[in-house]
Symmetry: C2
């Protein structure tokens, strides 16, 4: 785990929410605040700011844009919690449990629209379009994931397509708008052509690959880490019948016995049932199998390595080194 | 009821959804399509287009912008259905019943972000900012309504503030962006100053007042119309403990007896309970009282009349006459 809880970015995000959001709608700000306060790694604002410095070292830092990226992420988490009816998030009560589903849907909608209002006022093209398109793509990925739930015929390719949309798109966009914003500050003219600049393309690709590695690692952790490490019960992806990469590998390696165990688990409508708990334990064990863990870890390392190589076209800088460090820390994890 | 099911605007909205949206995400388009297909009065796109013609008669019509306004409305309905766990909408199964809550939240999010992407690409400032701010304001109103549910101390002033945000803001914005878009087409320079043009201010105010009258009429219908007329069971606002204007008036007029009947109804957690049905019937009767209906009707007429007067600064045109006709048709209703 990367601990950024005392970084200046974390402070900037918190200060921003406290000062700006609270005045406009106190109830929604309270929900958002409890989510930010609960921690989280603030990886998205961090990548947004580092991408800016890596693209144009002379441009001033923009913790506000970075904050917006974190807020969009928080909004998607709030809506995710409604979708999944999750009981805990980041080790605390999720927003839907604390405030009710109705309020959570509205709070997420409010956050999205509030951030878009700020973005359309403060940032030149193509920044607003990138963020709106990003959000559509994330939803697209979530819908595809929902439709693929419990589908044992899932392939690694379809899995990568889904996490490319639902997770990597946000990391890629963080890096892209961070870079574009820095180029705008450095005096480049606004417009869609900015998306084709060498630094922008390299950083977007870094973010996308980092996001793939991040999600695969997250999906592995869901089965291999403890409840204390996760901040939520282990195996929660399995409870939602999510077809993650370790599950796909375990099914491919485990033959008819593995398939039967997963089918038995997915047949339960109520995952709190005692028999369902036993079935869940059996599948979690399958995902903790050494061969499955190694194969999944290899996939994390592959995308983290590709993310590192995506940084090559950028000039040497402290920010580029920090981005490389983030990718290495994903790759170096042990479960 | 204003029947626009065979108008060219309706056809344009349908054609647009069929051609454009279906290619990008067929599942979500299917949900949206079933909602548009179910009818609806298409008042928002109609007002968007009429406002454009009323502001600048020489500008070409823009059924695409009008379609976007209807799609934003549809997205809020899809999320509303999740919130309210409504069983029917426009006489058909609501999206959440037909597709599941998870899918509905995503479909609404997708629609919002898809429309914003199109708007940021196709429309100059301040159009994107107006629409993002509008959505934040609608959510604000919905949160306030949620917090005020079952609050018997509700005043007409707070009710008007809530419907001003949750309903009138959208109508006002339809008229405003319709007018601004027409002025842009007529060659006016883009930017926030457009919001202060005489035609724009007059049309936004028309839309806002029309929206107030529309919502008050809708709230009265909820108690006085039949299930066949409503396309959903009568008294559904009461089931959700919404403090509507007729209820506020009935409480003010009815003394302790009225208060007791409402308290008894709101004490039921399960509105399908037989005793709850009896309690509901008793309160619906209170709202159908002649004095309550007359007082509420008077409020509709007042705001519809103010909407008519808001059109005064505009030059005479067929479009202005049509807008006036829409306001008059609200005012002339009989329950």
């Amino acid at each position: 785990m990367i601990d950024q809880s005392h970084s200046p970015i974390h402070a900037a995000v918190e200060q921003f929410v406290r000062e700006e959001l609270s005045q406009e709608n106190a109830h929604i700000a309270g929900a958002v605040w409890s989510m930010l306060d609960a921690g989280g790694k603030q990886l998205r604002p961090r990548i947004t700011m580092l991408a800016g410095r890596a693209a144009a070292q002379s441009s001033p830092e923009d913790p506000v844009l970075a904050s917006y990226m974190e807020l969009i992420h928080v909004a998607t988490l709030i809506h995710d919690d409604v979708l999944d009816n999750a009981g805990t998030r980041r080790g605390r009560q999720s927003t839907n449990r604390a405030y009710g589903n109705r309020f959570s849907v509205l709070a997420g909608d409010y956050l999205f629209s509030w951030v878009f209002k700020k973005i359309t006022i403060g940032y030149a093209p193509p920044v607003p379009t990138i963020l709106a398109a990003m959000l559509a793509e994330i939803c697209n990925g979530e819908v595809k994931q929902l439709r693929a739930a419990g589908d044992l015929a899932m392939t690694p390719e379809r899995y990568l397509e889904i996490i490319g949309k639902k997770t990597a798109e946000l990391f890629g966009s963080c890096a892209e708008v961070g870079a574009i914003n820095a180029l705008l500050q450095a005096g480049k003219p606004s417009g869609p052509a900015l998306r084709a600049e060498t630094e922008v393309l390299a950083l977007r690709e870094f973010g996308r690959l980092f996001g793939l590695a991040f999600q695969i690692r997250d999906d592995l952790y869901d089965a291999t880490a403890s409840e204390a490490q996760l901040g939520k019960p282990a195996g929660s992806d399995l409870r939602e019948k999510k077809m993650t990469l370790p599950l796909i590998y375990a099914l491919a390696d485990g033959g008819a016995g593995a398939r039967e165990r997963v089918e038995r688990l997915f047949a339960y409508d109520d995952p709190s049932d005692e028999c369902a708990q036993n079935a869940l334990g059996a599948v979690v064990e399958m995902l903790r199998d050494r061969a499955v863990v190694e194969r999944t870890t290899h996939a994390v390392q592959r995308y983290a390595g590709e993310a590192l190589r995506a940084l090559a076209p950028l000039p040497q800088s402290a920010a580029r080194d920090e981005l490389a460090g983030l990718a290495r820390s994903l790759s170096a994890f042990s479960s």
